[in-house]
């Protein structure tokens, strides 16, 4: 049930932010001050814009071709941007399978399971 509410809010937010009706609402300037008191919507909008900027900056820092950065950022939804922002350096980035076989892989699994391997991450 909660997930459906989230989708309703998303759909509703899309309606309010992206439809021709919003264009009409913006024409009626006197209402903007009234709507500014809708804190929840304001916060969601602000954090999406912030997330977009953060992801954009992170892409540039990670070597994405500047000509491509906008396209790639625009291809992500607001909720994807919010999830990624600030976490791109730790998020899984699929690359190559480790050529780790048999016993070595099992030992790695065990060390990870008992929390020993995570210790390495704390060292630069």
């Amino acid at each position: 049930m909660r997930n459906r509410f989230v989708i309703y809010v998303v759909c509703l937010a899309m309606l309010n932010l992206g439809s021709p009706l919003v264009a009409q609402a913006e024409l009626i300037g006197t209402l903007q001050a009234v709507e500014a008191s809708t804190r929840a919507q304001d916060l969601a909008t602000v954090s999406s814009a912030l997330a977009r900027d953060q992801v954009r900056a992170q892409f540039v820092a990670l070597g994405v071709d500047p000509a491509q950065v906008e396209t790639r950022v625009a291809a992500l939804t607001d909720s994807e941007l919010r999830t990624l922002a600030g976490k791109i350096s730790e998020a899984p980035a699929g690359a190559d399978a480790l050529a780790v076989i048999g016993i070595v892989f099992l030992v790695l699994l065990i060390l990870e399971a008992v929390g020993v391997i995570d210790v390495f991450k704390k060292f630069p």
């Binding site: 759909c11 006197t30 709507e35 990670l62």
Partner: protein, 324 residues
């Protein structure tokens, strides 16, 4: 020559783990129980041997081409490869699929569901964690089949066009990737055992990035497959509004409300459409109902905002507005 104490300890630990796995017997889920065939191999799935660090483009190209798109891994590099991470993020694979008009459906975290997608003809793109600690070994591969009698999964992975993998190893690597798995669908097609929320999230993603035609097709398929759900109708109304088609939007919203009279979002949106169509009195009536239903819930603020906008337009309904 005697093995060192550490090597013996490691071997013991490994043996224990192996023994633990072996005692469970075959690891593939009982396919006969779930009504799936004993073996599947989607051998027409293309193979793109990956280059260094580029399993993302290779795996994504594989499932994109399998879903009917025309693309090569090289074209995808610019969209999904992060030089600074020497790899590709899951979100960007999803985004690149959407950009080509494909619905990216994320599977529930279930090996049984993965097999069901294979049986329905969909190769499955998976994330695996093949290492640990400072060498996580994140890797994308495409599952193209399984064989119960041999207790094996079949993958296109890296430079291997047909990798046979034990379910034990697959589970070990896939579980640690939070069982992330994705199939791509042409708009209008549904996954096997379609999960309503996951499907609608995928379709809404298409709409979010402006792929209105594809999103509309996906929503229409959802409305047909789940005729009792109001959300696909709400979504179709949103698509109509994005195109300026208020008449269709009103029709879909009323359909949504006939299915779910307590649907706050549909009632709110209907009120807004009525206002926009020059029916402020009808709009006020609808938004009042929505406000009562929304009280104390997550949509209360949004409804309140709409209500303020509607209350600012006074007067009776114009001609052509719904009676009553």
């Amino acid at each position: 020559m005697r093995p060192s104490r550490a090597a013996r300890a490691a071997a013991c630990a490994a043996a224990l783990v192996l023994a633990g796995c072996a005692s469970r017997g075959p690891q593939l889920p009982p396919v006969t129980v779930s009504g799936l065939p004993a073996s599947v191999e989607l051998d027409s799935t293309p193979f793109f041997p990956q280059q260094d660090y580029q399993c993302g483009p290779a795996a994504l190209a594989t499932v994109l081409v399998a879903s009917g798109a025309q693309v090569s891994p090289d074209e995808l590099v610019a969209e999904v490869y992060l030089p600074g991470r020497k790899g590709s993020l899951q979100a960007e694979l999803i985004a690149a699929a959407r950009a080509r008009g494909r619905l990216p459906y994320l599977l529930p975290p279930s090996l049984d569901d993965l097999l069901a997608q294979l049986a329905a003809g969909h190769p499955v793109l998976v994330l695996q964690k093949t290492g640990a600690g400072p060498w996580p070994g994140w890797h994308y591969a495409v599952v193209i089949g399984y064989d119960v009698s041999r207790d094996r999964l079949l993958l296109r992975s890296g430079t291997e066009s047909r990798l046979e993998m034990s379910p034990t190893y697959f589970r070990a690597t896939w579980d640690r990737a939070d069982r992330w798995a994705m199939i791509l669908l042409e708009p209008g097609r549904l996954p096997a055992r379609a999960d309503f929320v996951r499907y609608m999230e995928a379709a809404a993603g298409l709409e979010s990035v402006g792929r209105l035609d594809e999103a509309g097709q996906a929503y229409r398929a959802a409305a047909q497959h789940w005729p009792g759900e109001s959300l696909p109708r709400l979504a179709l109304a949103n698509i109509a509004l994005a195109r300026g088609d208020e008449a269709t939007a009103e029709r879909e919203l009323r359909a949504a409300l006939s299915l779910a009279p307590d649907d706050v979002a549909a009632r709110n949106n209907l009120a807004e459409v009525l206002r926009s169509m020059g029916c402020p009195e009808s709009a006020r009536r609808e938004i009042a109902i929505a406000a009562r239903r929304a009280e104390g819930g997550p949509l209360a603020a949004a409804v309140a905002s709409t209500q303020r906008r509607i209350d600012a337009s006074s007067g009776p309904d114009g001609p052509g507005c719904p009676a009553d």
